[in-house]
Subunit: 160 residues, 4 copies
Amino acid sequence: VPDTESVHPPYVAVVGPSRPEGVAITDAAREAGRLLAEHGVVVVTGGLGGVMAAAAQGAEQVGGTTVALLPGTRREEASPGHAVVVPTGLGEMRNALVVRSADAVLALGGGWGTLSEIALAARAGVPVAAVGSWDLPEPAVVTCSTAAEAVAVLLERLGR
Amino acid sequence: VPDTESVHPPYVAVVGPSRPEGVAITDAAREAGRLLAEHGVVVVTGGLGGVMAAAAQGAEQVGGTTVALLPGTRREEASPGHAVVVPTGLGEMRNALVVRSADAVLALGGGWGTLSEIALAARAGVPVAAVGSWDLPEPAVVTCSTAAEAVAVLLERLGR
Amino acid sequence: VPDTESVHPPYVAVVGPSRPEGVAITDAAREAGRLLAEHGVVVVTGGLGGVMAAAAQGAEQVGGTTVALLPGTRREEASPGHAVVVPTGLGEMRNALVVRSADAVLALGGGWGTLSEIALAARAGVPVAAVGSWDLPEPAVVTCSTAAEAVAVLLERLGR
Amino acid sequence: VPDTESVHPPYVAVVGPSRPEGVAITDAAREAGRLLAEHGVVVVTGGLGGVMAAAAQGAEQVGGTTVALLPGTRREEASPGHAVVVPTGLGEMRNALVVRSADAVLALGGGWGTLSEIALAARAGVPVAAVGSWDLPEPAVVTCSTAAEAVAVLLERLGR
């Protein structure tokens, strides 16, 4: 778990399915990316589409820093909006890398991959806020109604 | 996801906390290890104590093959009962390796690490049976009452 | 091996020891970082000191993008000059990630870790130029006298 | 680096190309596997053909324990002779896992992948003996003429 009291900005992983159900989740991801970037947070994602793409684009539109940790080995797999792209070749094992690289996790939507990232974060003591996702016990996972609420919860946990 | 129609025996990962609550889970892990080994299944675990140790010991007592995929780098961290010990140095990222190395997953008890393994397995289409664990949707995760039931479910899914 | 004909800039890993022998290697690393950044290349390193720190600082001083892939789990382990820092927790296994994330490798100095990165790159068909490093067969590894020569070799191989 | 003073037998990784040049290297790998197994050593390989297959078969023929750490995700990719097969899905990153899982490394033949494993072992302080391989500095890498000599060197280093 990276220390956030440092010269580094906070890193928040925005995780969620590449094909979320409904536009609400995608909209929330874009909003989350934008708000995080506006607070100087580096946005990390798994680099693909859906929630990941929306979060990156939301952050990029306000000049934020975005990092994609791809499961595959080809940089071209990254969706637009990711400034730095690392093809890990780890497959789903990169979920653990996404979590490890983050000081907090914002989960949107309810895929199995998303659940694995929430669980790995909770296991490591990394704060998690979730919107439209799995029903899991607080305080490890704070269930929120909106992206704005989730961002506020995480910024508070990160001491910002 | 390894193919199970092969010269290789099936590999089943028995996953669960190193400090499970109550003896029932530990007893179930030992029973699961024993039953799996009696059916010629290789038992893979995360190599530490609690559920992992009990499953390995149950399998070992009937002459089964047991494999530990440790999070750390020291072979000595493995609990007794593991015949082959691989120190991965991956930390919690080894959870993904445990799942990847298995044809099916038997989850006992309800830790966050366990949840990450269930989720990664469900994501990859690896069959999961769970006893005393998280309440998750079937058919990806089949909730069972006993170790015997869980083993039967998985053997059936593996075509044994 | 990432494809370099894309919307992405080229990524070059600058690899070498955290405690290089003599200032010449450190100076060459700084020069390499600067030249790569001036050509729009993203500089990837293992994130620690010595060659890694010098390359990052050289790139940063001309406004380049620099990425640290740390072996440990703490972002604070990164040396200054790295804009984006990913703590991988992979230990020396992150050497393979450094190589995988790069379109070409520039090796400076002669540590064992550096040799592992050169070998992994050559294995994957990633171009390697080396200065003051191991004596290895061309064309997989092109031995150069200066950072400027090495950068020129790699830019040519990357079609820039 | 695993501690070898323990209840565990020593683990030696036999590394080398899947398509070695000449039968001498393959024969040496088979001999190495046999000798190691006769001394109670667990033989770890990268699980594929050539040197890896020959070492596993040599060990298996005398009842030894053999472990394959495959680069891919399909257990069927393992060559015969490997008793326990772990599909890692790590690609060439599994080279680091092969080294990490071993108390010593025996390298045969001269591929780039082999060189990466030798370098990673030397970096970690794991003893290496090499036959028909790269010309590297002693004592980190002990160059030997035969498999028997290499096995003797490593057993001595392992205190057997």
